[in-house]
Amino acid sequence: MSEILFIGLSLSSILLLIALGLSITYGAMGVINMAHGELVMIGAYTAVLSGIYLNLNLFFALPLAFVVSALVGLGLEKLVIRRLYGRIIDTLLATWGVAIILQQLIRLEFGLSFFGIHIEGLGPGLQNMDVPAFLTQPFEIAGIPIQPYRSFIIVVTLLLTLLTWFLMYRTSIGTQVRAIMRNPQIAAACGIDVRRVSAFTFAYGSGLAGIAGVLLAGFKTVMPDMGASTVVDGFLVVVVGGVGSLLGTVLASALLGQINGVFAILTNDILARAVVFGVVIAIILWRPRGLFAFKSR
């Protein structure tokens, strides 16, 4: 029983890891960032490359990937997103294009492959990140087997969630972000530097994607299109939770992760996936704005 719960919990934490960044960029900024998965991918490649060239392990790769993905996100915000605020579907379409571009850039090694230059760690192939041995060796506490890597992911996700909650609801910048999310014009008229705060927010959400990338690289293949499949799951979580509600995102990932885990154990993984999609549809039909949505008059 505890094992099933643990599997559900680790599924939940991975969903949350991806959804957290989306919940910021989508929930707070109204940007459906289809390139979020590619920011995850960039985080994963950061871990791979920092392992190859800088000999850094996972723990140093985490902050580094945050910075790299945040910078890419910042660039994306300045070049593309900035012109699209308030046009939610357009953000989806444009970032879809961006996703294709980012994937292809990694595959073509930033275009260097045209000139026959090869960068180890990039290219179309499969890459991997080394995980420190103590994170792959399971151990027991009081007879309960502990999987260190999964537990590590759960802890990091928890910390990131708390940090994000604190930033959004307990700091002045969080208030500014939420004000902009409701009405950028009035926010500006109240002295909030909309451009800067938006850029910051987007970079932060992107940085979270980078961290997710590193953690995913610990148990998944690193490859150019690794992120594409994650982003849809992330959106389902954010939407089911209620756009703009951090609590909703957390609970939705917990719910969907557990459902997935329980059904996977009791029946099989395929059916579990199907059930998760079914539940998503049912929840949206039942609560057309997600589980935790703000109701205006």
Partner: protein, 382 residues
């Protein structure tokens, strides 16, 4: 000529031009390969029309249009599969798809009724017309049920997109998992040709091209008529302000359901034509990337212009094909496509159709600029 009139005539001019080109193409293009390829792109053009109808006119973004396309494709592919030479070769009286044999339990009877569990679902598809009818009917029924739930419960905006997205993922999963009756991931291949009155429609024949070409012209004109009717106008009003429409006495959900369903029917029809032209059906038709691509085509062409969306689809696919077949771009073509998508959204938010309208508008403005000015800033005159 006033601006509005100019738009109207310009609009009709483009429709006529499009139809003339589409129908006249075989006269100048003798390469059967290209004719077949264009036929496939015309099918994509129909998908563009379906998207524009629901997205542009009803404000309903369907990110799962591939579901209806895929179902349409599978329906007709089932019929054509049973007409395939190999299906008649499996040592039974009724045709049996070859893949059912290796998916069956050893020793199962080699009859369509009972070779695998669920294979009886294939029985009616022995009649070709059944598959063709179902290619439209099934998407329509599914869309009707789905959209009734969605719109009666007042799900709107991005949430509709997410539901359709989740549904297409779900159905794709089920199709792949139901391998004994769907051939799973490999899809339905090795199909017979569409046969009408003894005539076999080889996909590389001009007559097959004409099936598709005439279809898109009919769909284009029919949808155009549909949006010009009062119902079309009311639909557009529900997009702008559904509450206002309700207080005018319209059952908003009924309009949304109707047009969503029409759009799904068109997608199903397109799926059917695609199978006729490409000779296979695959669960990849239900990939999310495909469904999103359709939306992007429509955006490039102009999301609120039926013909624009059709042209967008045809254009993008032609560019993709030519770029990927050019030695220089073989690896970079996707990069180029990505850049085009981003650029269009940023710099041409209303797509090609918007560009065309602006051009016409500019032309009209230089002709009678005074008139438009007053119309814009005018307060009620004394």
């Amino acid at each position: 000529m006033t601006r509005t009139k100019l738009f109207k005539y310009g609009d009709w001019g483009i429709y006529i031009l499009f139809i003339v080109i589409v129908l006249g193409l075989p006269l100048v293009m003798t390469d059967v390969f290209w004719l077949n390829r264009i036929a496939k792109y015309l099918v994509y053009g129909m998908l563009g029309i379906a998207i524009a109808l629901s997205w542009g006119y009803a404000g309903i973004l369907n990110l799962g249009q591939g579901l209806f396309f895929g179902l349409g494709a599978y329906m007709v592919a089932m019929s054509l599969k049973l007409q395939s030479y190999t299906s008649l070769q499996q040592g039974s009286d009724t045709p049996v798809p070859d893949f059912m044999l290796w998916n069956a339990e050893p020793g199962a009877p080699t009859e369509l009724c009972c070779i695998t569990s669920g294979s009886w679902l294939w029985l009616p598809f022995q009649a070709q017309w059944f598959g063709m009818v179902m290619a439209i009917v099934l998407p329509v029924i599914l869309a009707l049920v789905l959209s009734s739930a969605i719109f009666r419960l007042r799900v709107s905006g991005v949430y509709v997109a997410i539901i359709t997205l989740a549904l297409v993922l779900l159905v794709r999963l089920l199709i792949i998992d139901a391998q004994p009756i769907t051939n799973g991931f490999n899809g339905l291949t090795d199909l017979g040709w569409l046969t009408i009155g003894g005539f076999e429609f080889d996909p590389y024949l001009v007559s097959t091209y004409y099936i598709v070409a005439v279809s898109i012209c009919v769909v284009l004109l029919a949808t155009r008529w549909l949006v010009s009717t009062r119902a079309g106008l009311i639909l557009q009003s529900t997009r702008d302000d559904p509450n206002r429409s309700r207080y005018l006495g319209y059952d908003v959900a009924a309009y949304q359901v109707f047009f969503f369903t029409v759009s799904a029917g068109i997608a199903g029809f397109a799926g059917m034509l695609y199978v006729i032209a490409a000779e296979f059906a695959s669960p990849s038709f239900l990939d999310i990337t495909f469904s999103i691509s359709m939306v992007v085509w429509a955006a490039v062409g102009g999301r609120s212009s039926l013909i624009g969306a059709a042209i967008g689809a045809i254009l993008i696919n032609t560019i993709e094909a030519t770029a990927s077949e050019t030695e220089m771009f073989r690896e970079a073509w996707k990069l180029i496509i990505g850049v085009i998508f981003v650029a269009v959204v940023l710099y041409m938010p209303r797509g090609l159709a918007g560009l065309a309208r602006d051009a016409v508008g500019l032309f009209a403005q230089t002709r009678d600029s005074g008139k438009t000015r007053t119309a814009r800033s005018g307060a009620p005159a004394e």
